[in-house]
């Protein structure tokens, strides 16, 4: 029942948009007629190399002009985004998610909504996400390990999802739980972390217009290794705050205990806002490596550069203590 209107397992390879064409289309949108020739040439070239990396279904969306790639923030490639990431459910190496997530069954998918909410129950992805409102947002993804990537996500504001189920005023926090299915997630057959993976946000953080519920990237349905079918991205926080493959949304009045905080409370806090002034116990956060750059030569920006929009959430709060 999930995504049934759009996906089809036997989609012909020819209908998949390879990234170069995707890129040139976007380029075309930006540069207008002058871009046509270039786009056509790029498209032809791309057709020649028919070995499309991912049989991922295309996903239409409207680019949000407020969040686009800039000269300073150039997009990482689809290949980079989908072959290098942390998703400990599949293993602790950065290549493990791409290696093992192919076996994950994401259809059917259901999300349990419970806690302090007026419409608890079990929902499908299309019940929570308005497919007609899908937008594309280019966000910088900053890992706690001091590297970052720029990613064109597709999704809807997290607030639009939460509002559908009607959180009660008493709910001050929301908790997101990731799928636990050791048979398909080899990392869960080890105890390197406590399963299932749990993350949480303060309600005002979750309702902030920047917080994004993601179901795709690069014009395609989200690849399994990046958290299909449903994940969050909270761009002013370290990546581990953004839960993947979500199966439960729980509203509560108590601050949730997130998985990495349980694993190492002196290294990972609840807030995990990107902050150059609060070092991780094992490395400084003052600089970051903008992958695939060799050099860790970009000064980390407070709130990952989104401070003008989110700093007010934390006025009067000691961010060194609440790291």
């Amino acid at each position: 029942m999930i995504l049934k209107t759009r996906t089809s397992a036997d989609l012909p390879w020819s209908e998949v948009t390879p990234e170069p064409i995707y890129r040139s289309r976007r380029e075309f949108l930006r540069t207008g007629v002058a871009g046509i020739t270039g786009a056509a040439v790029a498209a032809l070239a791309a057709c020649g190399t028919a070995e499309v990396a991912e049989a991922q279904t295309t996903l239409a969306s409207t680019p949000n002009p407020k969040y686009v790639a800039t000269a300073a923030d150039t997009l990482n490639t689809f290949e980079q985004i989908t072959t290098y990431n942390n998703f400990y459910e599949f293993g602790s190496e950065k290549g493990d998610p791409a290696k093992y997530a192919g076996k994950l069954t994401v259809k059917p998918w259901s999300v349990k909504v419970d806690g302090m909410v007026s419409k608890p129950g079990t929902y499908g992805v299309e019940d929570l996400v308005d497919f007609k409102a899908l937008e594309e947002r280019v966000y910088r993804h900053r890992c706690v390990e001091a590297w970052s990537m720029v990613i064109p996500w597709i999704g809807v504001p997290l607030a639009s999802v939460l509002n559908k189920v009607g959180p009660m005023p008493s709910a001050t926090f929301v908790e997101f739980t990731t799928l636990e299915r050791p048979s398909e997630m080899p990392g869960q057959r080890t105890n390197i972390l406590q399963w299932p993976y749990v993350e949480g946000l303060r309600m005002d953080e979750a309702m902030h217009p920047l917080a994004f519920m993601v179901i795709g990237l690069y014009g395609k349905v989200l690849p399994n290794q990046n958290g299909a079918p449903l994940r969050i991205h909270v761009p002013w926080k370290y990546g581990f705050k953004s839960g993947k493959s979500i199966v439960r949304i729980r509203f509560t009045s108590r601050q949730p205990l997130n998985t990495w905080q349980i694993a190492a409370p002196n290294e990972y806090g609840f807030y995990a806002n990107v902050n150059p002034n609060v070092p991780h116990p094992r490395w400084s956060q003052a600089h970051e490596r903008r992958l695939p750059n060799f050099f860790s030569n970009t000064p980390t920006q407070m709130f990952n550069g989104y401070g003008d929009q989110v700093a007010s959430l934390y006025t009067g709060m000691d961010l060194k203590k609440n790291f």
Partner: protein, 220 residues
Amino acid sequence: MRRLSVIVNAALASRAFYPVVWLACLTPALLLGWRVYEAFTGADPSALGVNPTETLLHMTGRDALSLLLLTLTITPIRRLTGWNRLQSIRRTLGVWSFAYALMHVTCYVVFDQLGDIAGIWDDVANRPFITMGMLAFSILLVLAGTSTNASIRWLGRRWQRLHRLVYVAAAAAVVHFVWGQKADIREPLEWAAYLAVLFAIRIGLAVRKRRRAVQAAVTP
């Protein structure tokens, strides 16, 4: 076993043995160097993966540690098998371990810290995992620096005592590996287990030697 020993001893005595060892130590560096060249010139931008510096730190760190533990494996093998010629490559392996550690630290200094002394000091002083790496590296530096025949002659008996620090370096490097992980310490613990076996063998050999010495003293 006896026939195997004959073959091994012949191989160890062959003139090709030393060059082969040397080439085996050099090859990983050459391959890695080639990938750095490809990535840097853009010939193959993904030659070192999406996070090139992480790849370099991981490869050189493991190579340095492998060679260090291999160095420490020579004596037990020689003692247990009597393949005495193995001893001649121990120093070579040790110096190569230092060479990889030097590449490792150079990557860290150049790519991670951009040569910023204050940043490096901040790490060494405040992050125990880096402190341990620095301890291991400092020892390897001293040992490599005193690995020449001239140093051995000059230091005499003190040379042996000084070079026992190699065990401290190995332990510090393994701790550095364990403490450097975020959550998954299974692999570094395997290395730690191997080091523990080496320690156990060494202690066993020392005890046996002492017992023999005592026995020799009491039986006139």
